[in-house]
């Protein structure tokens, strides 16, 4: 057993304990004492889970996947690999199996970043470990699904994904919950993309109105490697605050962080991305499309720090307000530490154009249909680097969202 035997774990626990009250550096603070940390054990997939999962592209049958992981609350329902070069297992099992995994544990993120990272360490329950072996390119996605089922629970998971040298992996993650009064999801994720490797990570959230969500993600990208992060959330939640941090340490490393957010009801979504361009010739683009309706609020953050020679970074934030009581705030930050960094940003927030609505009405669409078409167009993200199958899932999710409006 690794726990307690290793100096690192002891140290990590100590640091976590000291940070358990540390408020997050950005976004809303939360009182975590009101949540509980255990629930009954789940072994079966309920009908509502199956339906909710399929609405976010997760097929609980696990067909057509390179591997599957499903967790309900803190119960691991299944963990399986369907590809000989891909490992998929719970994080606890992985830490027991591989001593070396400790080298990746809390390396891309600091355990004492804030109370949520600390909480994940001290009250952790599950999480997935995924690794693809060097040189192997796997097109079928590995699917991971986290379902927060029990009201009042804090679901704290720690995920680690390792893409070995020159390997390629596509991960599809769905996080969801049924209608419950309250709940907290803390997802700590550490991704390592080694030399020449490629990781696409598509995460689709479908929470409900009582849920607070605090993912914490750190990514390390090595020489010539690329990381593509796609985040889609078109359903309400109580609050979400997330800002993945990508370290482009490698020469000519690449990252794209793309998010599509639709906030409704009283949701508060504080979503962004940060990239440190450390490697020479490293590049990043951070693109966010934000739609706010009802009385929701979106804060769209972006941070690019240019440190490597001839690094390039671009931030783009588009916002669409659909109601007079919704708010979108764009907070782009660029920091150049070297003269030959090329960093740029553009942000535009507004409402739907009347010209476009009336144009579509002149093609026979009624006003609601015209608005739905325009919103669908606004949300459109064709991502050439993503396998066709995942682009199709995204299309389904976004089509569904624009029709529901």
């Amino acid at each position: 057993m690794y726990r307690g035997e290793n100096g690192k774990i002891k140290d990590v626990k100590e640091r976590a304990k000291k940070s358990i009250d540390k408020p997050p550096s950005v976004g809303l603070d939360l009182d975590i004492s009101r949540f509980k940390f255990s629930s009954e054990v789940h072994e079966f997939i309920s009908r509502d889970l199956e339906e909710k999962a399929s609405s976010i592209g997760v097929d609980v049958s696990g067909k057509g996947r390179a591997g599957n992981y499903l967790q309900i609350d803190s119960s691991i329902v299944f963990e399986e690999s369907l590809h000989q070069s891909v490992e998929v297992m719970s994080i606890s099992k992985a830490l027991e199996t591989y001593d070396w995994l400790l080298d990746y544990y809390w390396r891309a993120l600091d355990v004492d970043m804030d109370k949520f990272t600390a909480l994940s360490e001290l009250k952790g329950g599950g999480g997935v470990f995924i690794r693809v072996k060097s040189g192997v390119k796997v097109e079928l996605p590995v699917q991971a699904c986290f379902y927060l089922k029990t009201g009042g629970l804090s679901q704290n998971v720690h995920n680690i994904i390792i893409v070995e040298e020159n390997a390629e992996l596509n991960v599809l993650t769905g996080c969801a919950s049924p209608r419950i009064n309250e709940g907290l999801h803390v997802g700590v994720s550490e991704f390592y993309v080694k030399k020449g490797g490629k990781l696409t990570y598509t995460m689709i959230h479908s929470w409900s109105e009582g849920i607070d969500v605090r993912p914490r993600t750190g990514v390390v990208v090595e020489d010539g490697a690329s990381f593509i992060n796609v985040y889609v959330n078109v359903n309400p939640a109580k609050s979400i605050q997330t800002m993945p941090i990508v370290y482009l340490n490698g020469v000519n490393s690449r990252a794209s962080l793309i998010s599509v957010i639709l906030a409704s009801n009283n949701s508060i979504f504080d979503v962004g991305g940060a990239a440190y361009l450390k490697g020479d010739g490293s590049r990043v683009e951070i693109i966010s499309k934000n739609i706010a309706k009802d009385e929701s609020k979106i804060i769209s953050r972006g941070l690019i720090v240019g440190e490597g020679r001839e690094c390039r970074g671009h931030l783009e934030c588009r916002g669409l307000l659909l109601s007079t009581k919704s708010i979108i705030q764009a907070i782009p930050q660029l920091e150049a530490k070297i003269m030959d960094a090329t960093l740029s940003h553009e942000a535009a927030i507004g409402k739907l154009s009347e010209d476009e609505i009336y144009y579509l009405m002149a093609r026979g669409f009624n006003e609601d249909e015209a608005i739905s078409i325009l919103i669908r167009g606004f949300m459109d993200i064709g991502i050439p680097d993503l396998p066709p199958m995942l682009n199709r899932y995204l299309k389904l999710v976004l089509d569904g969202a624009s029709k529901k409006l």
């Binding site: 154009s353 002149a362 093609r363 006003e367 167009g377």
Partner: protein, 249 residues
């Protein structure tokens, strides 16, 4: 088909149309000429029902029904189609997908692929609707959409501006073919109103009647050839005089 009576229209409080009267019978092709700012596009937008063009007096009726206060899409359902002069860019919507949706909606039996070839615009299908289109591409795209809609009454706003001769011929041929303009008006069912600043498209499409709009009123109406040649020689000045004469009468 269409009857406009004493139409007064305001845009942001400014009166642009000041009593327009216009009657277009089934099968007729009319052309509306006029200098910039005379109210040509305003008339088109009022007929299609853009609420930003406020009708303060007068009526518009279509197929005998008063449509003055009808929403845009209901007018379209009744059989009015419009090709805009400056269509807006619709981001994130591919032309191919949009045409499919239109075709489904209007239960169209138009062969889209064939038309796309005829208009030489297959390179546009995977582009976003009107995004980065050249003037000619925009016009061709508007025509194509109207043909899919197959309206009984089509309005074309400046289909010849910003279009080179080659593309103008393509556009005119398609309109001639689709609306059956090679036969007598009495044998045709569909009507057209073409707005044109300088009348280039009339070299390729035969219109039955022309109107000149000056400062928000129809200054004169008559045979297209006569009116066009008059304007080409004397400019729109001659029409202004025409109005003054009418007023005096």
């Amino acid at each position: 088909m269409l009857e406009v009576k004493d139409l007064h229209v305001e845009i942001s409080g400014k009166r642009v149309l000041k009593g327009v009267n216009l009657r277009i019978n089934p099968g007729e092709v009319h052309v509306l000429l006029g200098p910039n700012g005379s109210g040509k596009t305003t008339l088109i937008n009022a007929i299609i029902g853009d609420p930003r063009f406020k009708i303060v007096q007068g009526t518009i009726s279509f197929k005998g029904i008063d449509i003055t206060n009808m929403p845009i899409h209901d007018r379209v359902k009744m059989g009015i189609g419009v090709g805009f002069q400056f269509p807006p860019k619709i981001k994130g919507i591919k032309l191919r997908d949009f045409l499919k949706e239109l075709s489904f909606r209007f239960k169209s039996n138009v062969n889209i692929d064939e038309l796309v070839n005829k208009l030489n615009m297959s390179n546009l299908l995977d582009r976003e609707l009107n995004v980065g289109f050249s003037g000619g591409e925009m016009k061709k795209c508007e025509i194509l959409q109207i043909l899919i809609q197959s309206p009984d009454f089509a309005l074309f706003d400046e289909p010849d501006s910003g279009v080179d001769v080659e593309n103008l011929v393509l556009i005119a041929n398609v309109i001639n073919e689709f609306f059956g303009l090679n036969v007598k008006p009495s044998l045709r069912k569909k009507s057209i109103l073409i707005v044109t600043h300088l009348g280039y498209i009339l070299n390729y499409i035969r219109a039955d009647r022309a109107h000149v709009i000056i400062d928000g009123v129809i200054a004169c109406s008559g045979k297209p050839d006569e009116i066009i040649s008059n304007i080409r020689i004397h400019g729109f000045e001659v029409c202004s005089k025409c109005i003054e004469e009418k007023m005096e009468r």
